[in-house]
């Protein structure tokens, strides 16, 4: 077939009389190339089946591990090719990319990885394919409850949990041991331990966390609030100005202004800021995501072998409450290869793939059973120990309005934490604004 296409052009070229100028020969040659190219590209998509485009954030670690898995998928599914394309590192930019392209009904990508907070929004907008049949109710029980809740909108599943994250308390085991202290289970105990150590170890910060005006601040505040029984939305109504939330937010300001265990610099801190400080051995406690663990335990790290992790403390008599993070896989509603795309989602979220991602890149599986897996427990004892924390990790408010609500929370929480407004006042202002947002549809 390719030959047939090529021949007339080749013949045409060969029959060009020799007295033709070089310029024309070059043009004729280019025409031949162009036709040959057509011959090469067109049939490849038709004969070899579909190409699924998989968009995802930057892979934390060697991207070759992911590619190896995708190659295996291609081997198992002859006729399907997978093209994986990384998006910009910042989640805001990824969100923006998806919004613009999905709203424009782009079919340029088929499978997309989404932050846990986007799924209801994208589902509500009608941008995602209903994947309920991939996750029948009995299969949902195999996953942690938090991500399943976050991927469910109006009773249907619009994404499958890929990997999971949750807030943790990192502590310096050597310092606690030296001062005869236990890992704190409650916030008052954390304050007492931090003050005790700070008095005796000059230059050490007590407790650092992420307080810059951004999504991370919301994660931090909601953890403390939920560990006091606070909520943002209840039965579709905003209850952010509750007494529990006010106490929690005031406590976070007090950590800085009253107890002095948290340095004011946290009001500009993101995850990496705090990781650098803790990693250089200058803080006793830190709130962060699991990713920091492997970096601390690397060769040459100042805190290697001197740290531990625990569930975040809570207020006395309440359970610990981590904020849920992590990424979800969904299928573009306008994909032209929906069936192949669904196969890829099923493959990437399968127990085998999740196990291999955990062993290579360190992505934490969303399937509960893997935490009992012998290989994983041996190779990654750290991950295996996170089971309880992931079981109790709660999603941020699961609502299509989330991106609007978080804008309000970010600025009001920031006001309270940096001491511009008292906590109760900030929360009241937040409730008024969120009420206004929730009225948008009515």
């Amino acid at each position: 077939m390719r030959g047939n296409r090529l021949f007339p052009a080749v013949k045409a070229y060969l029959h060009v009389p020799c007295n033709v100028r070089l310029h024309d020969r070059v043009v004729a040659l280019l025409v031949v190339f162009f036709i040959a190219l057509l011959g090469c590209t067109q049939p490849s998509t038709m004969e070899n089946g579909s190409t699924v485009v998989f968009k995802h954030g930057k892979i934390a670690g060697d991207p070759a591990h992911l590619r190896a898995l995708l190659d295996e998928f291609e081997r198992r599914n002859p006729g399907i090719r997978v093209k994986d394309e990384a998006l910009p590192a910042s989640t805001d930019e990824q969100h923006q990319f998806y919004v613009i392209n999905l709203e424009g009904k782009s079919a340029d990508f088929d499978v997309l990885s989404m932050d846990v907070i986007w799924v209801p929004e994208f589902a509500r907008a009608g941008w995602l394919r209903d994947l309920s049949h991939l996750l029948p109710p009995e299969a949902r029980d195999e996953f942690f409850p938090g991500p399943v809740e976050a991927d469910c909108y109006a009773g249907r599943m619009y994404a499958v949990p890929w990997y999971i994250d949750a807030g943790l308390l990192y502590y310096r085991s050597d310092l606690l041991l030296r001062h005869g202290l236990k890992v704190p289970r409650t916030w008052p105990a954390l304050v007492a331990a931090a003050q005790h150590v700070m008095e005796r170890e000059p230059g050490i910060y007590g407790f650092i966390w992420q307080g810059r005006q951004y999504e991370g601040l919301v994660c931090n505040v909601l953890e403390v609030a939920r560990s006091n029984g606070g909520e943002v939305l209840k039965d579709g109504r905003c209850v952010i100005d509750s007494r529990q939330n006010a106490e929690a937010l005031r406590f976070m300001r007090d950590l800085i202004a009253r107890y002095g265990v948290t340095p004011p610099l946290v009001t500009t801190a993101i995850e990496e800021t705090t990781r650098h400080i803790f990693g250089s051995g200058r803080a006793l406690f830190m709130r962060n995501w699991p990713y920091a663990w492997n970096l601390f335990q690397r060769e040459g790290s100042a805190v290697r072998g001197r740290i531990g992790v625990a569930p975040l403390p809570s207020f006395p008599g309440r359970p610990s409450a981590s904020t849920l993070g992590g990424w979800q896989l969904g299928v573009n509603r306008h994909s032209n290869h929906a069936e192949a795309a669904e196969k890829l989602v099923a493959f990437l979220t399968s127990p085998d793939t999740q196990k291999r991602l955990a062993l290579t890149i360190g992505y934490k599986p969303t399937r509960k059973s893997l935490y009992a897996d012998a290989d994983l427990r041996r190779e990654q004892p750290f991950i295996a120990g996170l089971y309880d924390i992931f079981m109790h990790a709660g999603p941020r408010p699961v609502t299509p309005y989330y991106m609007m609500i978080t804008q309000v929370m970010q600025s009001e929480f920031s006001a309270a934490v940096s001491g511009i407004r008292p906590a109760a006042e900030a929360l009241l202002s937040a409730r008024r604004q969120i009420d206004h947002i929730l009225e948008a549809e009515r």
Partner: protein, 285 residues
């Protein structure tokens, strides 16, 4: 220019006019149209709502806060840049060894991409490891305290854009004929008098051009501040452009976001008109 020239010229400028209309006028009109809509992407809501967005804007505390921040930022950054830029330009206008090298070095901050320099300043301002606090021997929370954050952003902008002002003013200074200075010296004018009576009046057109460029740029400031503080703490560094970006691309309220963009556009237009008025009065470009 004769009437015939005009007629003949039309076909030549037409392609440019059509291109400009397509690239600028159409989007501007489209944003105006969007701003009269209640448009929420995720809910599939898209209906005409008249001036509802603008009425909401009048009562939106976050908008007024952003406007206040923007005006504050613009006023102080532009004045400082002009003062500093003029001083440096006057210094560089003298004859000294390695003149070319120094002039090139001055341009470095301007040549660094904004996002890169914002990240750099984020480290300079870092409370714990930052060089600024190390030099001062302090633990000032530059970017995290409501009192400092805006000033830290202004300082960064001054560092970044003063070179631009310097280069424009230097070009203006070099056009001033040397004879005028010689004549002034013969007349016995002092340095200050020479500056007041010769340099400043002859530099005025360039100063106004610099002011237009800088004011409009500063009023639309986005990337530098967004990278440095993200608008925080508690929106104390949130400028109009940052607010519009958040409303448009993070919360997807295209109608209200467009209304914000239109307001920025109107402010910028008003500033331009004022400057052009001043320019056309007595000063010829």
């Amino acid at each position: 220019m004769t009437a015939r020239d005009r007629e003949n010229g039309l076909p030549f400028v037409l392609p440019a006019v059509i291109l400009l209309a397509f690239l600028t006028i159409y989007p501007v009109l489209y944003v105006l149209y969007l701003s009269l809509q209640r448009r929420l992407l995720i809910f599939g809501i898209s209906r005409f709502c008249g001036l509802e967005n603008y009425i909401f804007l009048l009562g939106d505390g976050r908008f007024w806060n952003a406007l206040k921040n923007t005006v504050y930022f613009t006023t102080f950054s532009v004045s400082l840049e002009l003062l500093l830029g003029l001083s440096i330009a006057l210094l560089l206008n003298r004859d000294f060894a390695a003149k070319g090298l120094v002039r090139a070095v001055v341009l470095v901050p301007w040549a660094i991409p904004t996002v890169v320099s914002a990240r750099m300043w984020e480290w300079i301002y870092n409370t714990d490891f930052g060089i600024l606090n190390t030099l001062l021997g302090q633990k000032i929370n530059w970017l995290g305290s409501p009192d400092w954050a805006m000033h830290a952003a202004i300082a960064m902008d001054v560092w970044k854009t003063t070179p631009f002002v310097v280069i424009l003013l230097l070009a203006g200074l070099q056009v001033i004929p040397r004879d005028l200075y010689r004549a002034a010296r013969v007349d016995g004018a002092g340095r200050w008098q020479t500056f007041r009576k010769i340099t400043l009046p002859l530099l005025k057109p360039v100063i106004l051009v610099v002011l237009i460029f800088r004011t409009l740029d500063a009023f639309r400031i986005f990337d530098a501040v967004y990278v440095l503080t993200g608008g925080g703490p508690a929106n104390t560094t949130e400028t109009l452009s940052i607010y519009a970006y958040k409303v448009l691309f993070q919360t997807l309220q295209f109608g209200y976001g467009s209304a914000l963009a239109v307001v920025v556009f109107l402010c910028v237009g008003a500033i331009s008109v004022v400057y052009v008025r001043i320019l056309s009065r007595g000063v010829k470009l």
